[in-house]
Symmetry: C2
Subunit: 224 residues, 2 copies
């Protein structure tokens, strides 16, 4: 069986966590803890306790908890891009490819056994709840210079490219894709916490409905 890992921007960490047992522990337990406590309540001290290590040891892998969040979320976007690539392979028409992208974005995220120490279901909840905290900070511009948003940009660019194939005259492909990606997680958040801001119900059809919403939004918007 092929072993898959993503090459993530090296500014995300001090020591690559994928290469050591402790590092892998940091990743998998921090996903569980942030999911459980929320990012604000999550601390390196609590994490260290969980993995039977110390705060100082965690700090040797990540500069601070903010960079760790960046790392996890970058990992998520890389994973999603990989899933998108699988979904569009062999599809001829750009319309088909775009639909496959939106389906991948909207679909339920299930545990992927290709990546042992990452629980994708928990990670998706983290993305929904905490993504915006990676860029709504006073360090955005510095973080951007360090390339920390590379994974997200790469995914956006890929999908925006398909939109341009469908309608080269549409003026806002990147704005539309970033809006659709963020809207998908926002609506997912709203349907459980602020349902009056959505029209998608909390039931077994939510992923299908979210896809419908996205498809109409994107395809109608770019129609010539």
């Amino acid at each position: 069986m092929a072993i898959l890992t993503f090459k993530l921007n090296e500014h995300l960490y001090l020591r690559d966590p994928q290469h050591t047992k402790l590092g892998q522990n940091i990743i998998s337990k921090s996903v569980a803890l942030i999911d459980q406590l929320g990012f604000e309540q999550f601390t390196f001290k609590k994490l260290a306790k969980e993995i039977d290590s110390t705060e100082a040891s965690v700090y040797r892998y990540f500069e601070n908890k903010h960079r760790l969040l960046h790392y996890l979320i970058s990992w998520y976007w890389s994973w999603l891009e990989y899933k998108v690539e699988l979904a569009i392979v062999n599809l001829q028409h750009p319309e088909e490819r775009l639909k496959a992208c939106l389906r991948t974005i909207a679909e339920e995220k299930k545990f992927d056994p290709s990546f042992e120490f990452v629980d994708e279901e928990a990670l998706y909840r983290i993305v929904v709840d905490e993504l915006d905290k990676t860029y709504l900070t006073k360090w955005v511009d510095l973080d951007n210079k360090d390339g920390l948003f590379g994974s997200f940009k790469s995914l956006c660019k890929k999908i925006a490219g398909i939109i341009q194939e469908i309608n080269p005259d549409y003026e806002f492909p990147n704005a539309l894709v970033s809006t659709a990606l963020l809207a998908s997680k926002q609506q997912y958040f709203f349907l459980s916490h602020l349902p009056s801001l959505s029209n998608i119900k909390q039931d077994k059809f939510k992923h299908a409905k979210l896809y419908e919403f996205l498809e109409t939004l994107v395809f109608n918007t770019i129609k010539k």
Copy 2:
């Protein structure tokens, strides 16, 4: 001259800041300080120093800085709804009214002398940078029960109503409006910090371009 004030949900504050000199000072200086420092770096201690008062006094008006942020942002949505109401008065066709809404959302926010102690330009920057921090917390559901999101919901509902007039068959009016409102501030953020996620340039046409993006997005999406 008529004096305008907004009736904001009373769970937002402990003591109504609009009624006292100290309260008004808290509002106007916190807008300036949050704009300057960002919400994370803003503290009641720093605020107290600025207004020549004490931390304890500020705590008598607001339970914590999070509720103060809620207060400011609720004020903003109430103000925007008021501006939207002015903009659509006397317009017959729902299409015209919807366009007027989107124009109000996208347009440059300028200081409004009707409200002496609120700097709307600074407050808009706060909304762009900090809005999401009002709901991406572990207290969303409690805050929602307290009605803290009432102002935002009210604005959404109003615009969603117009959409339903235009196309009663469109299934996601609330989702579309919340998406468009959040997209407008996200794109505004991206164009200065992560320009590759937008297609709107940082120039004097940015508000017009943002409007164009929103108009296409909303009108195409709901087209029958």
